[in-house]
């Protein structure tokens, strides 16, 4: 069992095998193997407690269905189920997704990182530029004149739905 401590001092106890999904944690455990018990405490300083909770939920779900097995022998039904679960897991606001991406980046959890980035890119699909700007809290910085000049008008990019 190892202990993760978030920036707001909450402790999370996780099975080593589960936490091993983070390559950063796995390396730390490997480094400290055979040492005292206190060394099994890992500070995750840059993230608040809401995120480790989510990360651990993600770990547990994936621990039950490790990636390698998932690819080799998982039945179609189970794969569908995992997909559905992930869709629900990532169905959250952009701030949480950003935090998840940052946590996955610093803890080195490739599948979580990819999943969250994919979700961010999904959010950008099939929306108008204004909606995207609103969701991702981006100011468009275009001055009024630039907007007239630089943004290609509808004419410059004629969507022909009847052709689609």
């Amino acid at each position: 069992m190892i202990t993760l401590i978030s920036s707001d001092k909450r402790k999370f106890h996780v099975l080593e095998e589960v936490a091993n999904q983070s390559l950063t944690i796995r390396d730390v455990i490997e480094d400290r193997r055979g040492r005292r018990r206190a060394d099994r405490i890992i500070l995750v300083t840059n993230i608040n407690s809401k995120i480790p909770e989510k990360v651990i939920v993600y770990w547990l779900r994936h621990f039950l269905m490790p990636e390698e097995i998932a690819h080799a022998s998982m039945s179609h039904k189970k794969a569908e189920k995992l997909k559905k679960w992930e869709a629900k897991f990532f169905d959250t606001d952009i701030d949480t997704l950003n935090d998840l991406i940052l946590a996955a980046d610093s803890l080195d959890i490739p599948s979580l990182f990819d999943g969250a980035c994919e979700k961010v890119s999904d959010i950008l699909k099939n929306r108008s530029a204004e909606e995207v700007g609103e969701i991702s809290k981006i100011e468009n910085e275009f001055t009024h004149e630039e907007e007239e000049e630089e943004i290609p008008s509808e004419n410059a990019w004629v969507w022909r739905n009847e052709f689609a």
Binding site: I94, D95, N98, D99, I101, L102, D105, C117, E118, V120, S121, L124, K125, N126, R127, S128, A129, V132, G133, S136, K137, I138, E139, N140, E141, F142, E146, E150, I151, P152, N155, A156, W157, V158, W159, R160, E162, F163, A164
Partner: protein
């Protein structure tokens, strides 16, 4: 990336607030290309990102690239040229029309179209009853933006052009003044400059350029007796010399270079699909293609190790170039066909280029 995401007053504008720019790049680069137009309208920073080399390199690195075909078409009923953007969908045996982009010079004929990287160039041409023009327009396909770039040193229409080593080569054509009938001009997109060269060849009867194998093959046809001959220009050494004239025999029709090989289509009598064999210095007939699927006049388009034989209404026969190079028989070469689109039958297809982003 820093230079591009700086605001005018020098403060850093994050691509996505709350994420480091290199991670935001990973999120944006995986957005499919059909949504890039919307992305480009969100903010200046995003537009700059879409147009940046990092963005293109990231899509390449993670294999997120998509290839679209840009076809310059003329609407015969309205005498109007436009750019049709399409994507071949081999699984459903059809072309998907992504959009139709008006060109800045819709009423013009005899233009040349070339691509360098993600940029598409429309050069020269002439309007109805007008003289040839030296105008050059550049369409940046990654940010959907037309701009006028440095004009050609000389007005030309119905001329010869090629893209090689990130440079454009133009020569010959109609509309030339008698001052320098032998000129040929080279455009460097990185510096937006043209350089006029004296024609390195002794003759001015060049009818086609083929960029192939890092060299520029020049195909000639003498006006007085229609004799065809060929030459090779080495851009790095800037020298030109004659070569086996055999290559000129079939190179006047549509050609494409794929998998390091040169393919040609002879439409004089049926549809003969041929490949140039450098070692034997001859054209090898690979087979005959159906006239029904790709109605003449056809164009050749090389992409993804395949040759697309594109006919009227975008009816297309797709041939495996890699298998042809390895010497497989014609029976296994044709891998697929794409149905003509009835809605595009009225268009004359003037050129086809693929751009991968």
């Amino acid at each position: 990336m820093d230079s591009m995401s700086m605001d005018t007053d020098g403060t850093h504008v994050p691509i996505i607030p709350g994420l480091p720019d290199e991670i935001s790049l990973l999120c944006l680069a995986r957005v499919p290309r059909c949504h890039h137009f919307t992305i480009s309208c969100v903010s200046k920073t995003w537009r700059a990102l879409l147009g940046s080399q990092e963005f293109l390199q990231t899509r390449q690195k993670y294999n997120w690239q998509e290839t679209w075909v840009y076809a310059l078409c003329k609407d015969n009923s309205k005498w109007n040229t436009m750019l049709c953007v399409l994507e071949p969908q081999l699984s459903t045996r059809s072309w998907k029309v992504i959009c139709i982009v008006p060109t800045p010079c819709p009423k013009r004929d005899g233009m040349a179209v070339e691509t360098v990287g993600e940029r598409l160039y429309l050069l020269g041409g002439c309007g109805l009853g007008e003289n040839a023009t030296d105008d050059v327009y550049c369409y940046n396909t990654s940010i959907f933006h037309w701009e006028r770039v440095a004009p050609m040193p000389m007005a030309r229409c119905y001329f010869v052009s090629a893209s090689l080593d990130n440079k454009l080569f133009v020569t010959s054509g109609l509309g030339l003044t008698d001052l320098s009938p032998n000129s040929w001009d080279v455009y460097d997109p990185s510096s937006n400059t043209w350089h006029s060269h004296k024609n390195p060849m002794l003759t001015s009867d060049i009818v086609k350029f083929i960029a192939f194998d890092g060299k520029l093959y020049t195909i000639h046809k003498t006006a007085w007796n229609n004799v065809r001959f060929a030459g090779v220009y080495h851009p790095s050494m800037q020298i030109w010399h004659g070569t086996k004239n055999e290559i000129a025999r079939q190179a006047l029709g549509p050609t494409a270079v794929v998998c390091g090989s040169l393919f040609s289509l002879d439409e004089n009598c049926g549809k003969k699909f041929m490949m140039w064999r450098e070692e034997s210095g001859s054209w090898d007939t690979l087979g005959r293609l159906s006239d029904q699927l790709a109605k003449p006049p056809c164009l050749l388009l090389g992409m993804d190790q395949k040759v697309y034989v594109v006919g009227k209404g975008f009816g297309t026969i797709v041939v495996f170039a890699d298998k042809a190079v390895n010497g497989a028989g014609m029976g296994v070469l044709v891998c697929n066909s794409l149905c003509p689109r009835p809605d595009l039958m009225d268009l004359s297809i003037l050129s086809c280029h693929s751009v991968t982003i």
